[in-house]
Amino acid sequence: MTDFSIIGKSVALIDSAGKTTGQGKYADDLSLPGMLIGKILHSPYPHALIKKIDSSRAEALEGVIAVVTGPDAPNKYGILPVGHDETALAVEKVRYVGDNVACVVAISESIAEQALDLIQVDYELLPAWFDPEDSMKAEKDWIHPQRPNNIEKDYHHVFGDPEKGFAESDLVLENRYLAGEVTHAAMEPHSTLAAFEPDPQTGKPGRLTVWSSTQVPYYLQHKLSIVLEMPMSQIRVIKPLVGGGFGGKSEVIPLEIIAAVAARKAKAPVKITYTREEVFWAHRGRPRTIIDLKTGVKKDGRITSVAARVVQDGGAYCSYGVVTILYSGALLGALYDIPNIRYDGYRVLTNKPACGAMRGHGTVNVRFAFESQLDEIANRLGIDSAVIRRRNLLKPPCITVNNLRVQSYGLPECIEKVIERSGWMKRKGRMLPGRGLGLACSHYVSGAANSIIRSDMPHSTVNIKIDRDGGVVVYTGASDIGQGSDTMVAQIVAEVLGISLGRIKIIAADTDLTPIDIGSYSSRVTFMNGNASLRAAENVKTKILAAAAQKMNCSPEDIVMRHDMLWKRGTPEPHGKGAEAVQILEKVDTPRGNVQEVSGRVEGQILRGSLQQKRKEEGPKDRMSFEEAVVSAIDFSGALTGTGSYAPPKDARGGAFKGAGVGPSPAYSYSAQVAEVSVDEDTGEVTVHKVWAAHDCGRALNPVSVEGQVIGSVWMGMGQALQEEMVWKDGLLMNPGLLEYKSPSSAESPEVETIIVESVDPEGPFGAKEASEGSLAATIPAIANAIHDAVGVRLREAPFTPERVLAAIRARKQAAKALEITRGADPSAPKVFREHGGSLWYKGKGPERHPDDPARKNGDKALAGD
């Protein structure tokens, strides 16, 4: 069935007017009477014991209301049940430069900032760990004492018989790949406003309301309950408009807890908004990753075995780390048919801001390595890059060797489309010197089949309420973070009920009002909340049809609901007023053939009395307006409500081995991309001219929205490929701002031609799968492969900055002093992460914190901070 009225149409996002006019409210736009401002004091040391905090001078400053420190809320929390290792503010110990030490609550931001300077903290310095491979060898001074050798978690998975697979192969390639650390860089910095209502009986702080820039309001409610020792029922979390998440708001961020603790202590509403630097310290982005990858193939390019050892530099706290390291291994599967896999994954703690989930969570860096190596194998075997991929396709429906269930599989069509549109067959290998084409593929989950906190609870529930005005209110826990989930829900409900979008009001992501949804992460919302919305709408539709059927003297199955009308199947389609109204970007051809302009709200509300009057005058009829049907249903059943839930099916939830919970998904999206680049051989600068990106999203519920997500993914992938990198020096982030952290500007952004492939998933809502993440991972290797095609160098260290590209070009030409420009590091054969040059410590004159400082060699390790 493709005869949809609103599904598959490029409708404007329903919250776009508020955003474009500035009327929409983000967390930092909110204000309450008596509201105070919180500012956080951060650690200047990467690893130190807190000996003493004296905040008396800060508290004495005029305008300061309270100073909060670790002991005010010492309960541990973390996004994963296995990783409860964070506290609101540091208790006993700081673990990275930027760790949270204290919070000043004052009547203004500038007073709070002044007060930060007056807090005296005495630290005792500890040796710190910055490189993951060094950190793994640590025998003492562990970052968390319960994590020996600073290893957060390691997994060792064997599927099939990898050794036998390598033995049977004709060619084996083994390389080390490095990927630098990148961050989300969402436009909106994190912001939280927390307010307690006084308890009417005791006058003490009672119910808590938190407005926060979050992708996961229900997890925030849960963690607040743990830290504040309050029942969840007394905590309300509301998500206002969110200016981008990309994973950076997909867990509980320190300021969210700190604001609540501070509001309790100050007995007044407290708002904290991060500076951009604090966003970098809160981070939770994609970790620096070392990938040692080995692939074995037959002469025809068929993969026989893959072995990967992955080390992730996770920073000082667990965050999503255990999930990240599992995704890195699990998503080796479900793209190609790989019969044998060995995976050794290490999530390592270091004294740096915690890494977490970021768009393409876990898969991106390993995919860069895999697709680069596969390209190299194709070159060695003399097989075309597209052909080798086609020879390794899965044959769905199937279960992969690592227990992932694959049903819809649009990858073959994605490859075919990008090959065709880019002119691959004609152009590849025939381009001007310095110019090249590269192909790569990727995939991603449409939601994790197992939730973070294991239970049989539905992952999403949606309620619908329809009242006599004919307005449809949808209560969904889904968090719209700019990706368009509110619009997705509205479109699904509108399609099922055959009504215009203008009738629908979305109430979303408010823990008091909306039923639980576990959040906007792992690209789960369209699939899971979409299915719940679909079921809720069908549930309420059944009630409307039952009532309408009585009035129309037919069976419910004989009634068509569309264009805000109901009519008996077989009778002429009505030309009613109600048929007016889809808010659509372009003109829309209705099935009746006439063309309708963009229309606003539903025409007037019809008073019940007049409706009843009208109804009395009429006998059974062939058609009714939506309002009339709603009123009949309300007369018939009282309140008109519907509910729907979604839980992933059992057979999609993966295997039984340790760590099997991460990777399984009810459906996977697929992407294939061709990048066209040119490389300046004198400077090493890479220009991406165009990217053809085909994405299998099952069905595009809103094509313009899908295109936006795919373009955004490609753009973000390009940033990681060419220029984005968090630069470190002894745990100090050298570029904590958007001037020095180089997200691409529009000037160097290429044209992205998106090609939507619709494999129509059997379980997705109207066949839809995810669209927001799966395309990111392919961009990086597509560019790497295009660089190789252009100038014959294989970059194995991302990002491919001009210095690295030039060094690789010179290493290939074996020029004298070839690698001086990267200080001896060969980006085509990288070994370890390189830090920024210069020195943080020298003869005790500097920060007096580094154990290797020549001035500190003679003892006295305890130093007072300032």
């Binding site: 951060h42 200047p44 040391y45 430069v97 203004s108 931001e109 500038s110 900032e113 930060l116 500076t275 630097e277 004198d682 400077t683 090493g684 220029q723 630069v727 100090l732 050298m734 570029n735 904590p736 001037l739 020095e740 180089k742 691409p744 500007s745 529009s746 000037a747 160097e748 900055t801 001009p802 210095e803 030039l806 001086e820 420009i821 990267t822 200080r823 920024h836 040059g837 210069g838 020195s839 943080l840 410590w841 020298y842 003869k843 004159k845 500097g846 920060p847 007096e848 914190r849 300032d866």
Partner: protein, 327 residues
Amino acid sequence: MSLPTFKLLLPRTLQDAVSHLARYGGNIQVLAGGTDLIPSMKQKLFTPAYVMDIRGIDELRGIHVVPGTGVEIGALTPLSTIEDSEFMRRNYRVLYEAAITVASPILRNMGTLGGNICLDTRCVWYNQSLQWRKSCGFCIKKDGDLCHVAPGGTRCWAAFSGDTPPALLCLNADLEIIGPRGVRRVPLSQFYTSLGDAHLKLDPNEMLTRILLPESSAGWKGSYQKLRIRGSIDYPLAGVAVAFRKNGGPVEAARVAITAVNPSPVLVPGAEHALIGKQPDEHVATVVGELAAKAAKPLTTSGLTPEYRREMVKVFAKRAVLAAARS
């Protein structure tokens, strides 16, 4: 981050400005476009008691052609005015090319030519928040006594990162400076100290008012080449300006200057001799590139490795010579 507390002065005339400078000199910060000063003040790199916003002084704005002398450009002239001036593009090509690479279109509407000349030197160890700088133990340029870029030394190596000054050096620009003792005129080539922390020869009670381009530099061929990661927004990681006079025959007069690789913009020694009397061909351009690289002293003040940036000075100088020849 909030701005530190200060008193705002809003002079409407040059005299008012001079008397403010005389009274509060040393404790005053002049605000022209504010594109660099405001973020720096939020980072507490400057905490002046007074900020003097000179945008109300109309006479400091505009490009004025003085026949027989050259061009006078008011220090407050936005970079976008130079960008939009057909006269400048035709007569002072190298300055036009440099101006269009500064930051982004929006910042060029605010940022001024005078501000770009007086731009504070930059370093990744310095252009950071107060909290960040505490974490590195501060540095010699601000609040500390150590240079992280050249540990053990006592000199500041922060890199001068303006795009237009190397172009102005090539054009042999003079500056007009006003202070309590009146107006003085100084060649731009003598305006910088080559120290990262006190990089301008400008007394605390003085202010830049005009930039003077001699008529003898009009019509020179020119080009500016800039190394940066992004196609917009970024400060230069290296920049090379080349300008020469050439009428059909060989090069008659020439200058080459570099920026972002030293604490000040510098004229490349010997470049003049390498170009004068020759055709600016591949060989000559290569020689100029090597001379430029020799004059560059990039350090870890900025992104990318110093070695790469020096290499790019060589490549970009060569390209600038060839591009100027085509201009």
